[in-house]
């Protein structure tokens, strides 16, 4: 079989924070009734993470459930387990209206790590990233310069940015530019 190419070919950059492509992660976009117990249970069974509240990011290591919209979650799983996970979702929700799609290769996932990660995000997004308004455990879908993106913070000093694969290079370059040495803002310290 041919080799799997990640959107950014494992690119990385060291500025006042480091920007790098995250290891390939399996992603399943699931739409349906999020208040449904069967849907919540299968999300937990597939990812091993609790079901998040509105705008929440519930993660267990690199796997988890991201709340994307009132009727949509994104499941992060091991890349190899995507077909199996889709089978389990299809079985559990067979009598319910839902949509589960493998979007692993349609999205790019970028890690931003280091002190000042909030400053880097704030340069690119209109979202409020101040510590009182956003922190670990939350997910924010928003805009990075000209394109749609979402981000969450696994810890206070790191963030994961998710965007469409077609704009992966654009978002990566934006983050590198925002994180370039000499560009420190020091506002969120």
């Amino acid at each position: 079989m041919s080799d799997v190419a990640t959107p950014l070919a494992d690119a990385s950059f060291d500025g006042f924070v480091s920007v790098s492509e995250a290891p390939r992660t399996g992603m399943i976009s699931l739409r349906g009734d999020l208040s449904d117990t069967a849907l919540r249970e299968v999300c937990g069974a597939v990812t091993g993470a609790a079901f998040p509240a509105s705008r929440g990011a519930s993660l267990d290591g690199s796997h988890g459930v991201l709340w994307m919209a009132p009727d949509e979650v994104l499941l992060l799983v091991a890349p190899g387990s995507v077909p199996d996970s889709l089978d389990r979702i299809g079985t559990a929700l067979s009598d319910r209206h839902h949509l589960a799609v493998d979007v692993t290769d349609a999205r790019a996932l970028i890690s931003v790590d280091g002190l000042g990660v909030r400053d880097v995000l704030a340069k690119l997004t209109p979202a409020d990233v101040s510590p009182g308004n956003f922190g670990p455990g939350e997910l924010r879908r928003t805009r990075f310069a000209q394109v749609a993106a979402a981000f969450w913070m696994p810890t206070e000093d790191s963030a994961r940015v998710i965007c469409f694969r077609s704009v992966a290079t654009y978002v990566f370059d934006l983050l590198c530019h925002a994180a370039a040495p000499g560009g420190e803002v020091g506002y969120y310290r």
């Binding site: 509105s54 705008r55 994307m68 919209a69 009132p70 209109p126 979202a127 409020d128 924010r140 879908r141 928003t142 805009r143 749609a148």
Partner: protein
């Protein structure tokens, strides 16, 4: 800068995260309607200097549509509410009446 509270996901969204969708609460006149009714729907819109009810989509966020009551003169926002409705909710109308007693509004 216009900031609207998205009632679908609860985020105070910046204007640049949103897509405008025009006038809210229009009843589309479809096949079978009279020419006068269709003309009224398509061309004879009210466009007051003051409070408008608008449709907005949280395009860069949760992707859902919602409605907003907003004054196009002063950019004052009177509130946002679910798009699954035929008329503005009572509390929005009360808020407008309280702030703009001189404006008479004919809404069902």
């Amino acid at each position: 800068m216009l900031i609207l509270h998205c009632p679908c996901c609860g985020i105070d969204a910046d204007e640049t995260e949103l897509t405008p969708g025009g006038t809210a609460h229009l009843k589309r006149e479809g096949p079978g309607s009279s020419d006068e009714a269709f003309e009224r729907y398509l061309f004879l819109r009210e466009n007051p200097r003051g409070v408008h009810f608008e449709r907005w989509r949280h395009a860069h966020g949760c992707g859902k549509w919602f409605h907003a009551a907003r004054c196009t003169m002063t950019l004052e926002v009177f509130g946002t509410y679910s798009a699954q409705t035929h008329a503005p909710p009572r509390e929005i109308l009360d808020r407008i009446a309280e702030r703009r007693p001189q404006e008479r509004r004919e809404v069902a």
